[in-house]
Symmetry: C2
Subunit: 216 residues, 2 copies
DNA sequence: GGCGTTGTTATGCAAGCGTATAAATAGCGC
DNA sequence: GCGCTATTTATACGCTTGCATAACAACGCC
């Protein structure tokens, strides 16, 4: 009880600590950008000291990568749930998919800031780049498969090239609306973006409205 | 002629130097990301020494901001040109607008990286946020006006709400395809994205194809 | 052609970065 | 309870960063 006492601490399970560090990293990136996500800041937020990071990750870059993967998994989680509505009407699943991607928690400034922070480094970080490409192509493939089901359900045939173009366009609409919603969410009414998204996707696929369209 | 000789140099005009420094900054960001754009790296590429940067800019942040502005000006330049094709067929102008936004130099990974770097800080920087919002709404208004012209040219009437929804959706398609092109440009054939963009926009607006569509 | 202005270089500094390493202690088996 | 071990802290090192400053030299002026 004289000189600066050594700090008390608790030993946590490995998985728990890793998750805490990843969470702290995401918080830091979201609040202060990649530049502000230093090992010291991350450790402070996680309630540990900086050295511990290197006990769980080979280096800071690895922690960032893990955080990015976690983020992506979280973002696609909801969308995947919509896709996995086995047995449901393909058009309903497509609508659910679009809606899941255009509502919270996917549409969220913090998520967007995180995404932007990471995505800006994709082209100068090969590991991040391939991770992104896999994620993007996987996503697009799922959209493509869903589109194929929908068109089949409508009794329409479509070649591989057509399906791919549809998937690219639909993916673009979702991405674009997602950005608009994240950056300026307050100028859109709740559900407005999702509604525009669903309508746009159906229009792009040449689907007629389900209900209420008795005009003409 | 004994100790390390001092480096020779030429005096350049102020505007020229500023532009060179901005260009060097863009190059550095393009190649090494925001993180790699250090004052020393920028100066090296510009062919000057690091200290000179602070002779033309109050700080590094100001140089980055100037680079960002230059980039944005360059991006909107092409699009504006398409919009300003006075007298031309509205559909042609719309197509030109879409195409201008989905081809180089707008579609470019370095542009995207800078954009991402800045956009990620929008929610924590009020000045940046309002700047972005103004830019976005301005852009969308132009799209909306163009859409109104196109529909009028087709003899179709549309209310303000409908026009706005169209503008939002079209803006989203362009943004989404832009991202896809910037991040994974090499997996798309030249002009493929622009083609998808133009087709998508026309489909969204319910326009029939100009040529070649003799089916059904 | 010397001279002053100022664009430019060269050097240095303090702060912050990621990382390495050793000391300390919490928690478990016995 | 006692010691072992692995987790965690603490400290420090080397490097890079942005920024400050002083010396220098290119160019216009008279």
């Amino acid at each position: 009880m004289s000189e600066a006492a050594r700090r008390k601490f608790r030993r946590e399970g490995e998985e728990r600590r890793r998750q805490d560090l990843i969470e702290a990293t995401l918080d830091c990136v979201a609040e202060k950008g990649l530049k502000g996500a230093t090992v010291r800041a991350i450790a402070l937020r996680a309630g540990v000291t900086a050295g511990l990071i290197r006990h769980y990750f080979p280096g800071k870059e690895d922690l960032l990568q893990a955080a990015y993967s976690t983020l992506m998994d979280r973002m696609t989680e909801q969308a995947k749930a919509a896709l996995d509505m086995q047995g449901a009407d393909p058009r309903r699943r497509l609508a659910a998919f679009v809606e899941a991607n255009l509502a919270p928690p996917v549409v969220d400034v913090r998520t967007f800031s995180l995404w932007a922070g990471f995505i800006g480094r994709v082209h100068s970080d090969p590991a991040l780049a391939s991770a992104h490409r896999d994620s993007y192509l996987g996503f697009r493939d799922e959209v493509e498969a869903l589109v194929a089901e929908v068109l089949r359900g409508e009794g329409r045939l479509a070649g591989k090239a057509t399906l791919q173009r549809h998937a690219i366009a639909i993916n673009a609409v979702i991405d674009g609306l997602w950005i608009e919603g994240c950056l300026a969410g307050d100028i859109f009414a709740s559900g407005e973006l999702a509604g525009i998204g669903k309508d746009s996707v159906e229009t792009l696929l040449g689907l007629e409205k389900h209900t209420g369209d008795t005009s003409a």
